[in-house]
Symmetry: C2
Subunit: 186 residues, 2 copies
DNA sequence: AGCTCGCATGTCAGTTGCTGTCATCACTAG
DNA sequence: CTAGTGATGACAGCAACTGACATGCGAGCT
């Protein structure tokens, strides 16, 4: 072949490394591309903007969430449906991904522009779950509240997952956090 | 005086009008500035970026939220503290602001970049509330969950507030939504 | 073998968002 | 009257994108 395959993957990898060492703002798209032997123009063919290079595969989570919602039994309560969705999402985070998730999160935590993108992605995820729940007959406002609270729980669990010394898998942590959420309103 | 006072206000006003008619992306910062007799450079002296022109005064909401948290009695439950914070926030939205909020929201709904900024601002608001709750002795994860869920309730209430035909003030609507949230986990 | 077509990429020019720097000019305090 | 302050203008420049067009490998067809 004329060019190496897997351009998006290589770009993402190089981007994370550069962001982690040099910083996000201090790294240009052209530099990332150059690091893997490509041009700036090609970078923007694979990613709609510079931030997006850190957010590939988020649509994958959306799919998992939808399957989780639909996997719940017909007469499940909103809280049970939510639990099913969150189990499906967290299952996508295997332990091998943990180091990568950690550095990625460190990069995001240092840059507001990346935080915006992250919040937006999570917001879309919540909206999708809410919509799927509403399609199952849950009242729209209730579904929105449930989905957003569920995503909040996911965020808390995720941060705990990548914390130093934490050993348990994310699927286990999320259960604890959901228990805390349930206790909250009592 | 050599120049008209209230430059930020006039810029914000002009920006909203231009965004609403021409569209956000189709409006340049220079055009907004020109519309009120200023230059692009001056625009960016008042707003750190183009989006920010629609998000002035959000820090005002943060202050209100903090006061709301601290206004709750000492031994209040997390849910009661949250309610107090949300009452404080919603009080900032008087009925005169409703038309302005409506068009502003329409503009935001049409543009992902603006949605990102909005989500980020709400995320900051939630984090601030959570921090204040934690300072009062609420366990950190619980506080985060509560604050995020509360902000979710605010979003739902706000959308209802600017919906056509809705007459009730936001402070009343939020109570209903919080009831729905409580019912969710029971 | 020769041909054509598609697809990932390169090249180049151009717009826009945003920043640093320096100048200007009313108004104000001394 | 002079020095200083504060909001602005003027200008240059970089980085993030985008559109248009060219290029060349490899696959499939004849």
């Amino acid at each position: 072949m004329r060019w190496e395959p897997g351009a998006p993957d290589r770009l993402q990898q190089a981007a994370l490394e550069l962001f982690a060492t040099r910083g996000y703002e201090e790294t240009t798209a052209a530099e990332i591309a150059q690091a893997v032997g490509l041009t700036e123009r090609t970078f923007f063919r694979h990613f709609k903007d510079k931030r997006e290079v850190l957010f590939r595969g988020q649509d994958h989570l959306v799919k998992a969430a939808l399957q989780g919602v639909n996997a719940a039994p017909e007469q499940a309560t909103p809280m049970e449906v939510l639990t099913s969705a969150l189990q499906a999402i967290t299952s996508a985070f295997s332990d091998e991904r943990r180091p990568w998730s950690r550095t990625r999160q460190q990069v995001i935590d240092r840059n507001p522009a990346l935080q915006e993108r992250e919040q937006h992605k999570l917001s879309i995820l919540a909206a999708t779950i809410a919509e799927a729940m509403a399609a199952r007959g849950v009242a729209a406002p209730t579904a929105t509240l449930a989905a957003r609270s569920g995503i909040a729980a996911f965020e808390v669990a995720f941060l705990r997952w990548i914390a130093d010394g934490e050993q348990r898998p994310l699927t286990v942590i999320i259960k604890d956090v959901l228990d805390e959420l349930r206790a909250l309103l009592r």
